[in-house]
Symmetry: C2
Subunit: 204 residues, 2 copies
């Protein structure tokens, strides 16, 4: 019997969307349970860590929590096939995710800043963007993907961060042609194009 | 032929020490290469991401970077045996690490704060400590370890965070008896006791 999956997250893309991309790309069915903000205070104390996303397997027989833990787990399942060929490659791909997480923190700092907005924005555009996007562009300049020549879960993680930042900085990838090409590759995957068209719309 | 390992990190515990604990506990030999601060500016541009720790396998045949990526990789090797029994358990253990990482960020915020020191300290002691340590204490109240009844890599991650915070808040675990017992368990592991006694001393 195949595994049944339920993803529990808020009604936004946010930290749940990478997992939703993986389900879309792999063509694996799942329940996309979206918590409304008004229901969260009652639910929060019942969760293991006090946050989401959580993935429930087989009606709650097992659960896995964490915005990057879930995609890595699924990607390494044979029916998803969005990970490496062995444990070393899987760790190297997790290393790319770790780097992308630092980019995520830089983006969060930018969008949440209250004081010193000008200073943080200057740092983001002049220091963070060249550092992160420069290195990432190099990673995919040969094989077309962030890890060698294989589409993996971290490409979707990058794409979700890109969706967020391009909404406020439309020219963000102008100097990074390999990353620009990667976003086009992802958007043109038939299952992903369909998901982007059909999914619930939200600002982030 | 067995794998040869070289851990490359700075001459501090910091984000390299969890990996060093795993090598000590498993009794696996490795090269503990410690970079001096003065040598870092020249080395940094040669690294994949611009940060450490990096683990080199078989003299550089493969390398893995990231302070949590490396311990998870090693823990899941049979000769280390400090992970779960299957991919689901390994993801759940990574979920604990993800939660501990949020605690690490709260500790970093506390020790790095310049403005609003009083406010951040109050938040840490009254909000962060009960939240994180309360949940973690619950996790190990039954089986004695953070994941069920098995010593895993996240116990060492917790211990390293504890070492950091107990130096400035000696009574931090007074209300968390299961966590207190866990730290005693870890300190009394023969290989760990020897490592703590023999390792290079540093403030953090």
């Amino acid at each position: 019997m195949s595994t049944s999956y339920k993803l529990i997250y808020f009604n936004i893309r946010g930290r749940g969307e990478v997992t939703r991309y993986l389900f879309a790309q792999a063509g694996v069915s799942y329940t996309d349970e979206r918590i409304e903000n008004k229901d969260w205070p009652a639910l929060k104390p019942l969760t293991q860590y006090g946050f989401l996303p959580t993935l429930e397997l087989n009606g709650g027989e097992h659960s896995i929590t964490g915005s990057l833990v879930i995609p890595r787990y699924l990607a390494e399942r044979p029916e998803f096939n969005l990970a490496g060929a062995n444990p070393i490659e899987n760790a190297q791909i997790a290393g790319v995710a770790n780097f992308l997480q630092d980019l995520e923190h830089a983006i969060l700092k930018l969008v949440r800043v209250k004081d010193n907005k000008e200073e943080v924005t200057k740092d983001f555009t002049e220091v963070q963007v060249p550092n992160f996007f420069g290195k990432l562009d190099g990673f995919c300049s040969t094989g077309g993907y962030l890890f060698q020549d294989k589409l993996t879960w971290v490409d979707f993680y990058f794409y979700e961060l890109y969706e967020w930042i391009v909404a406020v900085m439309p020219n963000i990838l102008d100097n990074y042609s390999s990353l620009k090409k990667l976003t086009t590759t992802i958007e043109n995957l038939p299952n992903i194009a369909k998901w982007i068209k059909d999914r619930p719309q939200s600002a982030y």
